[in-house]
């Protein structure tokens, strides 16, 4: 029964195949189809590339801009940094030796702001003169203006600097 049915399928297919259409000049039509397909492929590729560029460019620009800090936004508390003049603190007064050997009271008003203190001690006329040195050469009393190498560092206690001893 199965064999008979399969033979029927075979004979029917054979008869049907004889009715196939007779065509001519299939090569030129196929070549035209190849050209159209190639042209369509190129067109679709170009359109895809253009679309990718158009989509990716804004995304890339947005990604690049996000690396920068965000723009400043004024806060209700006011500006964060207000430039102000330097306020000297009592912890670092500038000791300026006075001729009278004034005390360096930390409570005394500090010097004007912004003026660095002179750590070096300036000789004053009231300071004791240097060693007269050699009596044989009284004309060379020593250099009273040259302070010692280690400058006196002003201390918070306000002790005035001691003038350097003139070298003999």
């Amino acid at each position: 029964m199965t064999e008979h049915f399969e033979n029927l399928i075979r004979s029917t297919l054979t008869d049907l195949a004889e009715e196939a259409p007779i065509v001519h000049d299939q090569l030129s039509r196929a070549e035209r189809r190849v050209r159209n397909r190639r042209r369509a492929t190129v067109t679709v590729g170009a359109a895809s590339t253009l679309a990718a560029i158009l989509i990716a460019t804004p995304i890339a620009l947005a990604a690049t801009g996000s690396d920068e800090p965000p723009p400043a936004v004024p806060s209700p508390a006011g500006p964060a940094v207000v430039p102000s003049p330097a306020v000297p603190t009592p912890s670092a007064p500038t000791a300026v030796p006075s001729p009278g050997g004034a005390d360096a009271n930390p409570s005394s008003p500090p010097g004007p702001p912004g003026v660095p203190g002179q750590p070096t001690v300036k000789p004053s006329p009231s300071s004791p003169p240097g060693d007269p040195g050699n009596p044989a050469n009284p004309g060379n009393p020593g250099n009273p203006g040259a302070p010692g190498a280690p400058a006196v560092v002003p201390s918070p206690s306000g002790a005035p600097g001691v003038p350097g001893r003139p070298k003999s």
Partner: protein, 169 residues
């Protein structure tokens, strides 16, 4: 492609077109669809002609036709109901001897889906073994067997009176 190559291609196409068109017609069941299928397969073969001309160009073209016919994209693009012609309508008994059975079988073959129809053509028209059919269609032997079984079963379902028609003949 130079002139020599194109002349060989033209000779191949001219000599093998009738046989290939018969297969295309059996696969599609429609004259226009058969021509379209053959041209589509030929268009896919032409760019490869330089590499397949020394091997088996006809086999390559046949494989392209088989797979093109059962491809999902082609079915999506070309899907349409094949209208039944008046000759395809179920027929009654015909005392002329066998033509009624064959006409009924022809009408039943048109109702097979492309995959089952391709298997039937390869198995019963090309007389290819199951392994070769599986190789050509790019599927397993078990798939070929199941498709063949379903196709024959569907043909039997579409032709319930085939035994009666055979007896009457």
């Amino acid at each position: 492609m130079d002139e020599d190559e194109r002349a060989r291609l033209a000779e191949f196409v001219g000599s093998r077109t009738p046989a290939l068109m018969r297969v295309a017609y059996l696969l599609t069941g429609d004259r226009n669809a058969a021509e379209d299928l053959f041209q589509s397969a030929l268009a896919r073969t032409i760019p490869k002609w330089g590499t397949i001309r020394h091997a088996d160009p006809e086999g390559y073209l046949r494989v392209v036709m088989y797979r093109e016919q059962i491809s999902w994209w082609r079915r999506l693009r070309r899907w349409r109901e094949i209208p039944l012609k008046p000759a395809d309508e179920p027929v009654g008994g015909d005392p002329s001897g066998g033509s009624d059975v064959r006409l009924a079988m022809r009408a039943a073959l048109r109702h097979l889906p492309p995959t089952q129809r391709a298997v039937v053509v390869l198995r019963y028209y090309e007389d290819l073994p199951e392994a070769r059919v599986a190789e050509l269609l790019g599927c397993s032997v078990g798939t070929v067997r199941s498709r063949t079984h379903r196709a024959v079963q569907r043909l039997r379902d579409l032709l319930p009176d085939v035994d009666r028609l055979e007896v009457r003949r």
